[in-house]
């Protein structure tokens, strides 16, 4: 079993108007630009179920995209209601930790946090 603290949030918050943030129980801090998070939506409408090909393109997403409401889904993820009315994606914590953009997670030497 993998290390649960790595994929369990200690805090889920709004960082600023365009940034969503999670502090994980292992102490790591992840920041997600809203447009990228919307673009990464894992739902069946945004990702083709059979081919895995992404159906939503950056052009289709409004520049000022932001969440309206963020809600827990059970114990394993969150659902985001977006300002473009999209809300079908469940962002699991495993998925969000994988998505972390910081240079440490992406194999760089220095963490931006």
């Amino acid at each position: 079993m993998e290390d649960q603290g790595r994929v369990t949030p200690a805090e889920i918050r709004q960082v600023d108007e365009q940034t969503f943030g999670i502090t994980w129980q292992d102490g790591h801090k992840s920041k997600y630009p809203c447009d990228l998070l919307r673009l990464s939506c894992p739902c069946a409408a945004c990702v083709d179920e059979l081919t895995g090909k992404r159906q939503v393109t950056p052009d289709a997403i409004p520049k000022d995209i932001h969440p309206l409401r963020i809600q827990s889904v059970g114990r394993y993820g969150i659902q985001i209601r977006w300002s473009d009315q999209h809300s079908t994606g469940i962002y699991t914590f495993d998925f969000l930790r994988e998505l972390c953009l910081c240079t440490v997670c992406k194999g760089g030497e220095k963490c931006q946090n």
Binding site: M1, Q4, G5, T8, P9, I12, Q14, E17, Q25, H66, P67, L68, R69, I70, Q71, S72, V73, G74, R75, Y76, I78, I90, F93
Partner: protein, 368 residues
């Protein structure tokens, strides 16, 4: 004669008493309360995390022994109490407020006796002193009305339009069977199942419960998914029979709960063996030990092995779970042990900090 007996000395002595499940001493766990010293008489409460504590008697003895050895003590009185710990902020939770622990009883495969196990575990927890609810989540084949002798009963509805569970053998029971006729089958597609489960979780007046047992339909389908997404499940128990074909599916069920981060409290082997009432000989009809194998392989506790007992079918069909009908039978005793093991594992899981807290917030924008 001066008596140097102080509260501090009593606490020091009690530090030697360890809870074998939580693996810490009862003083640092905060279990010792209300110490009163009257001359040589010492009196205190020990508040456990569940009334169904498997080692309650042993802890009590250990407490008495450790304090009696103190200088100046002439008598010790221990009151064993309990305050069931639950998920964080259960009082204010949006879904199932007032319910401390929500435990799903699941199996990968049908026909392993899951409903029988759920019904008897619920009664066993009541007998141990807990407040227990039982939600029959099997939309297509509800069996709780029959097992609890409630066929034909209709639940009351409160003024704020919430359904009141029906109490039987001390258990607060809710089932789709109360709302439909038992002669017409429920033929619903996924979205209806989803909706009904949602209603059960949000529109039933459960009141204050220590444990809400969810009897899940077999498999890993719509109902299971809705439950794991809507309710903050505290833990899951997997029921299996000893055969390999059932074990394969038990593994799948276990993995589903791991995926949605619901702690698996353990695995129960049902129909484990038959103990002949005449000669006492034990027959392992379907083989035995399969659940033990999985528990070792996947590192989850084996909660117990429940025997095959023809009386369980007979009592169940008469609306009396075995634990209520024949409390002195071997089967009822085994259920008592399994219920205590579940309560202990739930307490252990609740001590772990690595649970995600529920969030629900609106995004703040400058324009708004």
């Amino acid at each position: 004669m001066t008596n140097n007996l102080t509260e501090q000395k009593v606490l020091e002595a009690l530090r030697s008493v360890k809870d074998p499940d939580l693996k810490r001493d009862i003083v640092s766990l905060g279990f010792v309360k209300n110490i009163r010293i009257d001359g040589g008489r010492v009196c205190f409460d020990v508040e456990l995390t569940t009334p169904a504590c498997p080692v309650k008697d042993q802890l009590k003895e250990d407490c008495i022994r450790s304090v009696r050895n103190l200088e100046g003590v002439s008598g010790v009185e221990v009151n064993m109490k309990s305050d069931v710990k639950g998920r964080a902020s259960f009082e204010t939770a949006k879904v199932l407020p007032g319910v401390r622990n929500i435990i799903a009883v699941a199996s990968g495969k049908g026909g392993v006796g899951k409903s029988t196990v759920a019904a008897n575990l619920a009664v066993a927890l009541v007998k141990a002193g807990a407040k227990v609810g039982l939600l029959d989540c099997d939309i297509y084949g509800p069996s709780m009305p029959l097992m609890f002798g409630l066929v034909g009963r209709k639940p009351e509805v409160t003024s704020d339009e919430r359904i009141v569970p029906i109490e039987a053998h001390g258990v607060h029971v809710m089932s789709i069977g109360f709302l439909t006729s038992d002669k017409t089958p429920v033929i619903w597609r996924g979205p209806m199942v989803h909706q009904m489960i949602q209603q059960f979780l949000t529109r039933v007046a459960w009141g204050k419960l220590d444990y809400l047992i969810l009897d899940l339909p077999p498999g890993t389908g719509d109902a299971q998914l809705t439950l794991t997404q809507t309710a903050e499940l505290s833990g899951a128990v997997i029921v299996t029979t000893p055969q390999e074909v059932s074990l394969v599916d038990a593994r799948k069920g276990l993995q589903m709960f791991e995926k949605v981060k619901v702690p698996v409290l353990g695995i129960i082997e049902n129909m484990s063996y038959f103990s002949c009432p005449d000669c006492g000989k034990v027959f392992e009809i379907f083989g035995r030990g399969g659940a033990r194998k999985i528990s070792e392989e996947l590192n989850v506790p084996l909660l117990g092995e429940i025997p095959i007992d023809p009386a369980i079918v007979e009592t169940g069909d008469r609306g009396m779970p075995m634990v209520a009908a024949r409390p002195d039978s071997l089967t009822a005793k085994v259920y008592g042990i399994v219920a205590r093991a579940i309560a202990a594992q739930m307490s252990i899981a609740n001590m772990k900090p690595d649970m995600a807290k529920a969030v629900d917030f609106q995004w703040k924008t400058k324009g708004a």
